[in-house]
Symmetry: C2
Subunit: 163 residues, 2 copies
């Protein structure tokens, strides 16, 4: 779960679609580009990932564009960030070489693990819809209990499980 400006752009774009694509009308990348000050080329790259992550649907040809693949209330910020960033660094340690101690866990392992969960719980509690509805107080959300959270699962996989 990396937090980069790529993720920020991704969220901005998704929010833009939800705000501007009323009544099933697809939104073009060109329009998003203008409104959000993101270059068209870069958006294309972003939407490649969003599409692969199952978060948007595309319609080609004139009059085409992008639609959210699910209701805005069912797409979380975590979904978006996970989609646009690379596969996801695993447990921070098993695969990492530096910093982590060969074999046994270092003294700070728990800490970083807990921090990752803490961040994820927040991002997983906020939906695109909530960001659009400005009156929601994002500072006092009900978070899912720690036991229930499963980091590193993408929307596509969720869908696969459900069906």
């Amino acid at each position: 779960m990396r937090l980069t400006s790529k993720g920020r752009y991704g969220v901005s774009a998704m929010v833009d679609i939800n705000n501007n694509g009323k009544e099933g009308k697809p939104v073009t990348l060109a329009a998003i580009s203008e409104r959000q000050f993101i270059s068209l080329s870069y958006l294309e790259q972003l939407f490649r990932s969003l599409r692969a992550g199952g978060l948007v649907r595309s319609i080609r040809g004139p009059g085409g564009g992008y639609l959210l693949a699910h209701p805005a209330s069912e797409i979380t910020i975590a979904n978006v960030i996970q989609a646009v960033n690379e596969p996801i660094r695993t447990t921070l340690c098993e695969n990492a070489v530096r910093g982590c101690h060969r074999g046994r866990r270092c003294d700070t392992h728990q800490l970083w693990d807990a921090m990752g969960k803490h961040i994820y719980r927040f991002l997983d509690a906020v939906t695109i819809e909530m960001v659009c509805q400005k009156e929601v107080d994002l500072n006092n959300l009900e978070l899912k209990p720690v036991e229930d959270i499963v980091t590193e699962v993408r929307m596509e996989q969720k869908i696969a499980k459900v069906s």
Copy 2:
């Protein structure tokens, strides 16, 4: 509040001092270097910051080394991370050019603001002592209410205020 491996190293080093510097005996960087697999040069660079941040005290000459400048129960992870990372990026937007909209706030502003606070609240709730006491459950901490948190304040400043 940046989350880099520099911060991780900083925390590891602080934890190491607390675990190994019993009874006021200073801990040498050489020792930390061996135990935590961090190069001596890099540690020297890190400790320059930790010292400047008022988090450690040093004793020079043979038999010297570093001591925590405060009880481990009073040093938070947020303190450490803020000390080792650069002055701090301001409000993410006023000064930022790209991504943010000139003049008025973008639609996702609230979100990133809330996320920053959420992360900070966690890091500010965990002390070096808690990391050392492995039995503490970092997944269910009491966090300070949002109103009370003041991000971007360094230990030195806190001290200045108190005295």
